[in-house]
Assembly symmetry: D3
Amino acid sequence: MSRPVIHVINPNSNTVVTAGLKEALAPLVFADGPQIRCSTLAEGPIGIESQADVESVVLPLRRIVAADTDAAAFVIACYSDPGLWACREATRRPVFGIAECGVATALTRGDRFGVIAIRTKSIRRHLLEMSVAETASGEGTLARMIAVGTALRDEDGAEVVVMGCAGMARHRRPLEEALGVPVIDPTQAAVAMAMGAVRFG
Amino acid sequence: MSRPVIHVINPNSNTVVTAGLKEALAPLVFADGPQIRCSTLAEGPIGIESQADVESVVLPLRRIVAADTDAAAFVIACYSDPGLWACREATRRPVFGIAECGVATALTRGDRFGVIAIRTKSIRRHLLEMSVAETASGEGTLARMIAVGTALRDEDGAEVVVMGCAGMARHRRPLEEALGVPVIDPTQAAVAMAMGAVRFG
Amino acid sequence: MSRPVIHVINPNSNTVVTAGLKEALAPLVFADGPQIRCSTLAEGPIGIESQADVESVVLPLRRIVAADTDAAAFVIACYSDPGLWACREATRRPVFGIAECGVATALTRGDRFGVIAIRTKSIRRHLLEMSVAETASGEGTLARMIAVGTALRDEDGAEVVVMGCAGMARHRRPLEEALGVPVIDPTQAAVAMAMGAVRFG
Amino acid sequence: MSRPVIHVINPNSNTVVTAGLKEALAPLVFADGPQIRCSTLAEGPIGIESQADVESVVLPLRRIVAADTDAAAFVIACYSDPGLWACREATRRPVFGIAECGVATALTRGDRFGVIAIRTKSIRRHLLEMSVAETASGEGTLARMIAVGTALRDEDGAEVVVMGCAGMARHRRPLEEALGVPVIDPTQAAVAMAMGAVRFG
Amino acid sequence: MSRPVIHVINPNSNTVVTAGLKEALAPLVFADGPQIRCSTLAEGPIGIESQADVESVVLPLRRIVAADTDAAAFVIACYSDPGLWACREATRRPVFGIAECGVATALTRGDRFGVIAIRTKSIRRHLLEMSVAETASGEGTLARMIAVGTALRDEDGAEVVVMGCAGMARHRRPLEEALGVPVIDPTQAAVAMAMGAVRFG
Amino acid sequence: MSRPVIHVINPNSNTVVTAGLKEALAPLVFADGPQIRCSTLAEGPIGIESQADVESVVLPLRRIVAADTDAAAFVIACYSDPGLWACREATRRPVFGIAECGVATALTRGDRFGVIAIRTKSIRRHLLEMSVAETASGEGTLARMIAVGTALRDEDGAEVVVMGCAGMARHRRPLEEALGVPVIDPTQAAVAMAMGAVRFG
């Protein structure tokens, strides 16, 4: 019998981010467990940094979800959760958004959480002034994340920290060690929940 | 290398419930994945149905968590989440409560959720008038759950239903089929999240 | 000097709805006041009744807003407020969504309000089982609106009622007379607010 | 046919404030539109700066509203919304409070708003230490408003700023230019909404 | 040394209500404790049943509070809490509103509470269709209170019931016996809190 | 006839704290009023400073409440409100928690309140870095409370301050004088409410 598939879609067209997702999710790949397939949205922008970027991927994501009759569950791997409800309308199989899953998972680890966001227009505090691409590769990213995470922990009382971007997973462990509180990678959180949905569904 | 352990503790002393947990969680047991160890709290009451029942298991649970240096994560398998913070204080490893995890998981599947509760003094609506033991074994349980779930769905607009007890897992699938909306077993939800914490931690 | 323009965009392609908007908004057309220009989104679906319908008009709306350098303000005349933030990102001129304006206006008339919604998947109570097109033209619409409005007023304590659709304006006055509480047409509410923004901006 | 009247009542007895209201509202006076009549409450205090001041105008306002059978709508032009419910009880015609209308209008322009308040006992942050009279005439007012508005925008993330007083309208445009976000004068906002109520009612 | 005075003001002019207050509060009169002085607002309406009634007593109440330099604390014995902030502004001694105290006290007895309201325009459910005067004296009052209280307890899950009027105290005990949950008389609750403020202040 | 008893239980085993409670509550002891009996939980820890400390006293408290058929009401004199619901389940007589009563009382004195907490793991701001024992006896306590209370008042806008510990009562009056806003001792607040419940019950 074939192993069921969890389809993780990177809605931006940056294949470096997709490769990072694949690597970050490897610990949930078991010999007799679900497959985790990571794909790149070819039509997507190189990074999702504006409302227009978000909107531009909604219908392409929906088409992919509707067309992929193979997958048992979907994860949309962008912290804006683009197209979540449009995709859910297109299938009865579960569709997870990583922002929702990251926050939900944080709430099972403590009472207050903080989110480390990257550059956006709508969130003015505790953000990293860098692009999605820089986040995945940049040298100074971890140091800045530790600074922001420390402020969330000490000034705002965060007991858990969520990394507010799909491309930060490789910083999760050193950030958690530096902060001493749980740090959640939202794509990892979403895939763990998708695993439950697929296996128990 | 030995496989890490997720320790699922049934805080009541009903071994039928523990056996049901083990069976319900089998789909998350993989050859090269974490072990899922289900144990019964010998000191626990036969069912946790009053505040005194809840309180009576808090310190025993904490002792077990503190003593089990083997486990990589803990799940307290009672929908009252007894002793959650006392156990967390006793270890730096993650401790999950199934009520928190059930609700968090429901929120990743829809905007409104309902909980099917069993007999309690504090919740007067949408409850099943039966004991924990009856829930696990009783004949009429599923029919009553379908009736309550239908009311949650149609009158209160629930898009997801959480089963508010650790002992209902075998009714999950038929209930989901009858209702046509996702039905969450909270212990399954918690163990999926524990799996993520263990593998990514 | 030319009169400034308030551009009211009907995001569905039903020109009967657009004609109804024009008629409904006529009372705010003054000889020396702003022009109210009503347009139809040719690419839009005949009615916006699903999440896919909503998403399909977002980028077309944004293109229209970005291209129309003439208008002093925009009103998106669909109760789902499709593309509100995408349009706002494309211009510094004000963009009003009729759902936001309808609710905001209701809150200036009373403490509790209710919304009469048409058929949707996400709202299960107090809705009219009819399409957008039927709403604008159907014979039995008013009677059904009175029944739903009466329930909002008497069972839920609504002191104000909002008509949750752009195409219901001609029923506003008889509905208000039947209910005896203020009834808000959201497009009228939005254009009154746009008038303020244009004249005082 | 006579033009309907929007009666804007200044509940303090400072006629300079009333004259400022008249000037601020002129852009909504159209040849064939509603009249905007601004009146001064002779019994009112020179400024409404305490709870006793607020209470002292409630019944006089109610008497004016009940007696003025001419007006099609009323606006109470004080940011404390004194007597709003007492006046509404005295008439079936709409009565608008400028605080409610200012906030409601702000919410149609952005997700977060801030209010620039003048001296009060109950609000300790972001306020201008000046009397109502100084606000209308004082030289340094604008500079102080810009400082407070900048803090609201940059520290608290306000996307819209409401001027929390009836007498600040002439500072609206320069403040908006200095801040780069929409600035709402609450009386202008209320009269725009009253215009809608009168014309569509 | 003279005993400190708690001044309980009945803001309506119905001396039967004042006499009822005096009787209801007698259990807190101790030989060496504070005096409880109950007075009637001569200017007040016979019952406070409209917003105009509420407003009409605000300044008279404030004058009484400002003039009574004798009292150590004040209780305003009307469930609308008329003039609470105006009175507080007039003195540094504590002023208690019975609605606030009734609700605060209810929350120390259970997690959910309900209020039995008398006839008002703004509350449409669970109310008694009778005047304030009827409430104090009418024959059928208790039976109707039991019916409403039963609905609050069984349908809305109230664990505590607050009597939403100053004149119902003599029904407190039989109502509590009939319902089997704590029933709070708000004036009694307020005077107990005033006693604490006076003795510990 | 014997005077009814309010039983105030200090859940820690520090008899200095119990003696302080007795002294702090003396102003509510009247010749013909209820007795206030203060007892020490012999099994309790010397101070309740961790979740384990909280849990360790729950069942002992419940046993005391169940066994004391004499008392008319109970007050649990620890700001964690340990065992509140377990005790309530064991008796039909009222059981008050001082945290609930302190907050409820604060809300009858102003709209915003702050709490001065002692050292805990979960509250990171506005806390005193000292043990329960130090709080009761330490020299520098008052000065530190004034500093924290001033910050609550001036930075957070607190109109009332609650002392978040059972052992601080002797600092109440000087703290209130220093701050100029009401300061609530939670045990005093709870006993005043218990007095009402006992006398009117």
